[in-house]
């Protein structure tokens, strides 16, 4: 906040002359520079990019199909000769290809559920914060109420009630995860809405919804990005809990969580069924957390979540 306030208003005259020796940096540039200095975050980002490429393209390259059952090699250890570099599971499916395809699902769940929670949370928080007063009080009261629900239980109940469709997993996790977002956004909105540019917009007769959409939400971008990177690993973890409890995605689809929980059953007799998915899952969570950390430090040096 202080940084923004300090930012010099560039003299139009100077700007027109193209005098650049005092060239101001936008807060985004500042943030970008801070982020670049955070090596852990940068390396994590590289690894994540690599992971994405692997997960997206890997299954196309690997010669096995994910639902092909190789009867000659069931529960086979990794070997180059058999062509199953990461081994096979109990019905002879290739672990490598399953891990890669599982990654697609895990990342997809992470992303989509986060977006669901983002949309609900940002809208809700911005509306509550902007209108303030009784609206705010009631809306936040509702958030408090939902906060008190043992949320894992509700995800389980949702899965029990509606069956385990992948869309439902997105919605279920997203629907219980938006509360933090709503709170943070509301706080930011409260402080934003009294700033001059909002007052100005209001004076020009922009309707409230327009103000929220055009002025408030864009200004929340920083915090939202940080929040998203930190929510994705949480969601992936929740999905893996569900899979562990047997409430995850449908076969033959799989996710890292499902693969890990299968593998953990046989960790001694067939450790390779655990190692590959566990490694992928952990590395991903690890990287997301570091990236999120880095972004937070960069975008939001003062306020910590």
């Amino acid at each position: 906040m202080t940084k923004q306030a300090e930012k010099p208003i560039i003299d139009p005259f100077e700007a027109a002359l193209g005098v650049s020796d005092v060239k101001g940096r936008s807060p985004w540039e500042h943030a970008w520079h801070r982020l670049l200095k955070n090596r852990a975050a940068i390396y994590s980002a590289y690894i994540m990019a690599g992971m994405l490429v692997l997960v997206m393209l890997g299954p196309l390259v690997v010669s096995w199909e994910s639902d092909f059952t190789d009867w000659d090699y069931t529960s086979a250890a990794p070997s180059l000769e058999s062509g199953h570099w990461f081994g096979t599971d109990a019905v002879g499916r290739d672990i490598l290809v399953r891990t890669l395809e599982g990654g697609r699902i895990s990342l997809l769940v992470g992303l989509v559920a986060t977006i669901v929670s983002l949309v609900i949370g940002v809208t809700y928080g911005a509306v509550a914060g902007y209108y303030g007063g009784n609206t705010d009080r009631i809306m936040m009261r509702i958030v408090d109420i939902i906060y008190a629900l043992p949320f894992m239980f509700f995800v389980i109940l949702l899965m029990v009630v509606f069956g385990r469709h992948i869309v439902l997993i997105f919605v279920a996790i997203g629907a219980v995860n938006w509360l933090d977002m709503a709170r943070i956004v509301r706080g930011q909105t409260l402080s934003l809405k009294n700033m001059e540019f909002i007052e100005a917009a209001r004076a020009c007769g922009v309707p409230p919804w327009g103000i929220i959409r055009r002025h408030i939400i864009p200004n929340l971008l920083g915090i939202v990005i940080v929040y998203v990177t930190l929510t994705i690993p949480q969601v992936i973890l929740v999905e893996s809990f569900l899979s562990f409890l047997g409430l995850g995605v449908q076969e033959p689809m799989s996710s890292w969580g499902a693969l890990v929980s299968d593998g953990a059953q046989d960790m001694e007799s067939a450790p390779w069924t655990l190692i590959a998915p566990a490694l992928f899952l952990t590395v991903t969570l690890y990287c997301f957390n570091y990236i999120g950390d880095g972004l937070r430090d960069a975008l939001d040096p003062k306020d910590r979540l």
């Binding site: 906060y147 043992p150 109940l157 809990f241």
Partner: protein
């Protein structure tokens, strides 16, 4: 303060009502009933069962009947464990969950803050980086991966601890508490480190140092309080997180806690048991958040609820 507390406690009622309503109807909407089994029941027997548990009443009547029961803290008979009432089951399961939860939470709090402070005092050294690296790992590895590894190493190979089960003894608690505490410890360590670094750079600490106080006194007297603030406000969500975590932990270690009751109850359509556990945890989370707020206010002299709310 008192008025605020009272109001907060009154706020429990609508929250609970909503909790009960949502959970009640969700359970009833779920396909399948408590008495479905592969050996199909002759209609007359099914009718007997439904009559016994009032499942033949209209849904709304059942709902209000249930509300009436809950009002006098009677959660009814369990459908699945027929020899027990839900109250009795909770009385057996809750202390177990509570023991594991409180122990894990305390462990996480103590170890987490110590590690966090240690890392902050040696900011940007190898110690700091390795501590935080490990902490990040603690957050990133799901506990159902850690648990089997711990069991294998400490119980099966070394033979020091039981691999599962619960006899209320210390030995059977070690592994579950450890596993459950791990992510929270890691989280708290990171939080503490961040807030410690911030506090150490603040003016009042500089002043204290300038007065020539020894570093240990500076930390204990002046830094600790503000450092703990974010940790304390994390405790509320952390407790909720532990409850979700315990569902998994209880399953892996075969611990007779409420989380495993819940999952079994949901799968077997044990309506009353599921409701009982949900309500109990709802109340618990609300109360804990409340307590956390009180502690927070006590630690932070800037907050006085009577004025702000």
């Amino acid at each position: 303060m008192l008025r605020h507390s009272l109001r907060r406690l009154l706020g429990l009622i609508p929250t609970l009502l909503m909790l009960i309503t949502v959970a009640f109807f969700m359970m009833r909407v779920a396909p399948g009933g408590p008495f479905d089994s592969e050996k199909s029941l002759p209609p007359e027997i099914e009718a007997n069962l439904n009559a016994k548990y009032h499942l033949d009443d209209p849904l709304l009547k059942q709902y209000f009947h249930y509300l009436g029961q809950v009002a006098v803290l009677d959660f009814g008979p369990s459908f699945q464990y027929k020899d027990w009432t839900v109250n009795e089951l909770i009385a057996q399961g809750f202390p177990v969950s509570m023991t594991v939860g409180v122990l894990a939470m305390s462990l996480a709090f103590i170890v987490g803050t110590l590690l966090g402070i240690a890392a902050a005092l040696r900011q940007n050294t190898r110690i700091d980086y390795s501590l935080m690296g490990v902490a990040m790992l603690g957050i990133s590895i799901p506990n159902f991966v850690i648990a089997p590894i711990l069991i294998l190493v400490l119980a099966v190979y070394a033979g020091w601890l039981p691999a599962g089960g619960w006899d209320g003894g210390f030995a059977s608690m070690v592994l579950p508490v450890l596993t459950l505490a791990l992510p929270a410890t890691a989280y708290i360590a990171r939080l503490t480190r961040g807030s410690m670094i911030e506090v150490l750079h603040s003016n009042f600490i500089r002043t204290a140092r300038a007065k020539g106080l020894p570093e240990s006194v500076v930390i204990r007297r002046h830094a600790l309080r503000p450092v703990l603030l974010p940790v304390i406000s994390f405790m509320g969500p952390a407790m909720a997180g532990m409850i979700s975590g315990s569902v998994v932990i209880e399953r892996i270690f075969s611990i007779p806690g409420l989380g495993s009751y819940f999952v079994q109850g949901a799968l077997n359509r044990d309506y009353t048991l599921v409701m009982g556990v949900v309500i109990l945890y709802g109340v618990l989370i609300i109360l804990l958040n409340f307590v956390v707020d009180l502690i927070y206010a006590w630690l932070n002299p800037k907050i006085r609820y009577d004025e702000t709310s």
